[in-house]
Symmetry: C2
Subunit: 263 residues, 2 copies
């Protein structure tokens, strides 16, 4: 009675529960326990448990008056987040390639995670010494230009919450003093770009700018990273200005209101 798959690692309860989720989702709207059970040929008790579990996890929503289930907030949130990331990546890619050629350095794109930034795309300069990051890697917010760019433009309450978390020390130069960080963030907000000098990785530096979504929220950041020795102050400033322009273009295309560059 080999059923679903030849893959011996498939966990049956999980697989069946996913079928339930799928059925409910594809149904378009509110469906009752018995209907799901009949449709999937899964005993009512088992179906009941899956529906309960999916609901507890927020993937489904249980309407107590009609005793029916439909898609839950969790799934919608995931979908929205994914769509947002996809869109940012798509919009940013051409600009990133252009920037890479312009400065001949690696260009990074990251989104805001929970207390961290997560790299979602990068275009490497071929003369890059070694890879700085990989897609999917996550780094602390306070030790990267990407993170600082986002932090600076976060709503006050959320920024405070972020800075309340323990700040990990990545290198000897990583900023750990709250005072100092907040001073820098104000500076970032003023000039519109963030700089990080060997604070995340020894010998490497980075210039980052935020990308805003339609609500003016900094969902992502764009950066140019380089070995410290290859990026003098003057060039960094130039890069910052260019990044700011490019990011503003992306933000606009994401439906963002005009950037709040002014302090």
């Amino acid at each position: 009675m080999a059923k679903k798959s030849d893959n011996p690692y498939v966990v049956q309860p999980v697989m069946k529960a996913l079928k339930v989720l799928e059925l409910v989702a594809r149904h378009g709207h509110e469906i009752a326990l018995t209907a799901v059970s009949k449709e999937l040929r899964i005993p009512k008790t088992t179906t009941f448990r899956y529906l309960q579990t999916l609901t507890a996890a927020g993937f489904l929503d249980h309407n107590r008056t009609t005793d029916r289930y439909n898609l839950g907030p969790q799934l919608r949130a995931i979908a929205r987040a994914d769509a947002s990331v996809s869109k940012v990546r798509e919009l940013a890619r051409p600009a990133m390639i252009e920037l890479m050629h312009e400065f001949n350095e690696t260009v990074n794109l990251a989104v805001k995670g929970n207390g961290t930034i997560v790299y979602i795309d990068l275009v490497e300069a071929n003369r890059s010494l070694r890879m700085q990051a990989r897609i999917g890697d996550s780094h602390p917010m306070h030790s990267t230009a990407l993170g600082k760019a986002i932090l600076a433009f976060l709503p006050e309450a959320e920024r405070q919450r972020q800075l309340d978390l323990p700040l990990t020390e990545r290198t000897g130069r990583t900023l750990l003093e709250r005072e100092e960080i907040e001073r820098q963030l104000r500076q970032v907000k003023r000039v519109g770009y963030a700089t990080e000098l060997g604070e995340n990785e020894d010998g490497a530096m980075c210039i980052g700018v935020p990308v805003f979504d339609e609500d003016g929220y900094p969902v992502a950041a764009l950066s140019i990273s380089a070995p410290l020795m290859r990026m003098p102050h003057s060039l960094a400033a130039k890069a910052g200005v260019r990044l700011r322009e490019v990011a503003a273009g992306i933000s606009t295309r994401l439906g963002s209101p005009p950037p709040t560059t002014a302090g």
Copy 2:
């Protein structure tokens, strides 16, 4: 060691697998087995199994070159379908209320399911004798005006596939002859609205029109339903024309190309 929930019906493997799914999704991009395992404090073997299962179900995607996982097509499809349904419902609601007042009959909105139509919204006239349908109910395509409206505008291949399925007989008047159905569908395509007279429920009739998405695909249908006795031919024709107008407006706002009313 009571963990997640006080709900005794929560199935642990399912719950944990959902956590894995959520983590991968929220990560923004490609994440490796070990990272998931560490983050969630779930043993590597177990995490491995969940990732395999989620992948087999299409909820995740396994990149074999990098050995990392990210969101899969299944989840995106579900999300897209849901967003589409939500949007249709949202756009249609005001028009439905207007139509209800105009004809003082129940107005229905349904989406195309698999071989059926599924009611996703309805606005009942208060003089309605009894409820015709409930949100979430699904009816055959060939026995309802909603279904016929959709069938008529489906791509040829898909329509044939639908009609190949066994046709259930809802009432004595339900159309079962393929010839007859296809003749009616051509007629529907010509006039732009479908009519059903006691074919789905004795004594009830319905007039339905399709709603198109941005690809010109009939994702949903709008209808007015009434007791047979209250809806003479002339009034039905008038309702058909009005529905056609209203649905065209909704289709346009969904990004649909100009309706293919011409035969």
